[in-house]
Amino acid sequence: MNAVLKETAYAAAPLAVHGLTHSYEGSSVLRGVDLALEPGSVLGLIGRNGAGKSTLIRAMLGLLQPLSGSAFVFGEPALKLGDDAKARLAYVPQQPEALAWLTAQQMLDYVGRFYPRWDTEFANRTLERWNIQPNKLLAKLSPGERQRVDLIRALASQPELLVLDEPAAALDPVARRELLREVALRAGESGTTVLFSTHIVSDLERVASEIAFLHEGRLLLRCGVDETKERYARLWLPAAKSAAAPAQALSRRRHEDGSLSLVVERDAHEQWPEAAKLAGARLDALGLEDLFVEIAE
């Protein structure tokens, strides 16, 4: 029954992966990742450098063949996407380098011919608004400008699913803010599903409705952005009480004096672990950035 429900959920999800594993030169990058996006959600994929975010995104979109597991886009196998699914999807890679020999305008004209819902006016208007010279070759644009042209390319196709790999990495604060506003607008008004990876926590707080935290190839947690403060906390136990630490914790760090710090989660009954009630134990609420640092450190 659960399997059937899961399959149905995967078929309905704009983007879903199940049991995804991958490795480069013998080193594991993804270790059995399960993830499904709900229609209209904005999921921020967060993790340290080298956590496997880009590999996960590329595997989700069928841009690499994983060692095992399956990926689906609008219910179709990611590695065998049809034209219809492709037309509903847009992807911006980290540091885009495509078609360096075309001008920004030529690239948009070239790509636009393939998308049935291409918004030429939006493309031209945004090029002007973002101060990008349309007749300049892409190779001669700065990394930030190039990333913005690729974002225009992705947004002008009016996608139902927008996948952005570190979209703000090369952008200045103003451009970053404009991008996030555009993403929020698309999600809010058009119901676009968005997946974006980042390690800038403030971007997540600004625009994401959910976060998924990828650490060493595993998806450690996934929850609503607003839930994190209520759901996760740091539990500090003095050395004398550290033996009573709960077995389940997202991270565990022993200090020099023998005391123990753990990131703990409320259980199904919304209760903190029993150890939190011990004398001397201390429970601290964690913001998103603190949570990220505690787990990733």
């Binding site: 590329r58 979109l61 069928g62 841009l63 992807y91 980290q94 495509a98 360096a100 020999w101 001669k140």
Partner: protein
Amino acid sequence: MRLNDVLLVPWRSTHRPLRWLSLAIVTACMLGAIAVGHFMPGPRWWLGSTIAYCFGVAYAWAFWLCTALLLAIDARKLRLPGMQRAATCSVLLYGLLMLALPVFVLGALGANAPVVALLVALAMAGSLAFVLLPRWCAMVMGFLPALSVGLRYAAHLPPWSDPRWPAWGTLALIVLLVANVLRWRHLLRSDTDNELGFGSAIVTQFRRQGAMGNWNGLQQLDSGQLIRQRPDWMQPRANLRRTGPQSPMHTLRVALGGWYLPKTLTGHLRALAPILLPILLAIPVMAIMHAGEHRDHTAHIAMISAGLGLLGWLSLFGGLMLATMTTLLVRQRWQRTNAELPLLALLPGLGDAQGMRRDLLRSIFAIPFALQAVLLIVMLIAALAMHLKGLAVLLVALPQLAAAGAMVAQVLCALGGRKLPSWGEWLVHVPFVLLFFLSTFIPMATLGRHPWRGATLVEPWLLAAWVALALVVAWLGRRGWRGLLARPHPFLAD
């Protein structure tokens, strides 16, 4: 600042393969100079010896010792004045050492020491200027030997044997030294990291990993860098008129870029600018040479021979160049995960996997196959015109066919993600190139008044070697093809 640090600068400023290659070339030239001096008859033996030595010196300064500048630039940026001084001192020290060695040795053996010193100094300063001056100057410098022959009469320049020559040579040396010093200071203090561009110095390119250091350098030079090297007026503009879902092959050619890119007429002219410009420069050079022709036919004959030689060289090795260029381009495109591959993989309207594979292969191979067919026909016509016999004709045709086969195999391996490891590639490439040269030149050895009789004995062996190599290429191609078929779509990176 220790002497050790100064001496080790060229060692520290270059990649290991370049270091050893340079040392080998300089040593070979020095041994050549000794051999020429020993075996050359007549009183001017020292001139031959000096010229052989100058070749080594010129190489060392153009490709090896000039890299001290890169070290000096880095040292300046990192605020390490000691290292910067060491780099500058090393240039002076090696300059003096390389000058003093032939002057004392050849001078002691009876050579004209001032002329030796002048020739060696000119070789050093000239080759350093070649890499320090803007790139367009290097192009002009390529015509200097031809110009000097013509100008000898037009501007009454003295020949080497003339007693006035040292004065002219000294003047040229002073000009070169001043240019080198000014350019060195400019590059050292320039804040912009202008590695690319038509006005940049060639030496700044040696910084890139692989450039000059190993053959892989070409692969590391991505399209963006190549484009940034050219000024805007030389950029080939794309012709997008026939792109779209209705013309997948045209669309794929745009995505492949490089020489596949469909261009407008102006775009073609711009793309050919690096070839057309030297031709335009050659016209005044030829005019100058023609002006001196009534006094000396050598220049005229040399020019015609050079032109014919270039055409012959292009016919012989054009196929090999095409195969190399195609393979490198495809490999480069299929290595980059953030470039054209994700765009093409997710572009709607290119058809199903089978259709995409078919269109992609047609886009990649159509132009090289057509060009290789033309080259093959030219080669066969030339072979028949030279009255080559049956097996020899086949041996002339085989390298072209093998180049096409090797290109197909390597491209399939790149597309199928079944590239051989480096050592495996060397095992195939070295015998292939060797066989290519032998098979091209041995049939020619059967021509002329004194044909090489051994050629008829070698030819069947060459044919057997080609059959063996064809089997290896076929195996490689099959391996790549199976890899490509196994992929769900052809736009997966290596």
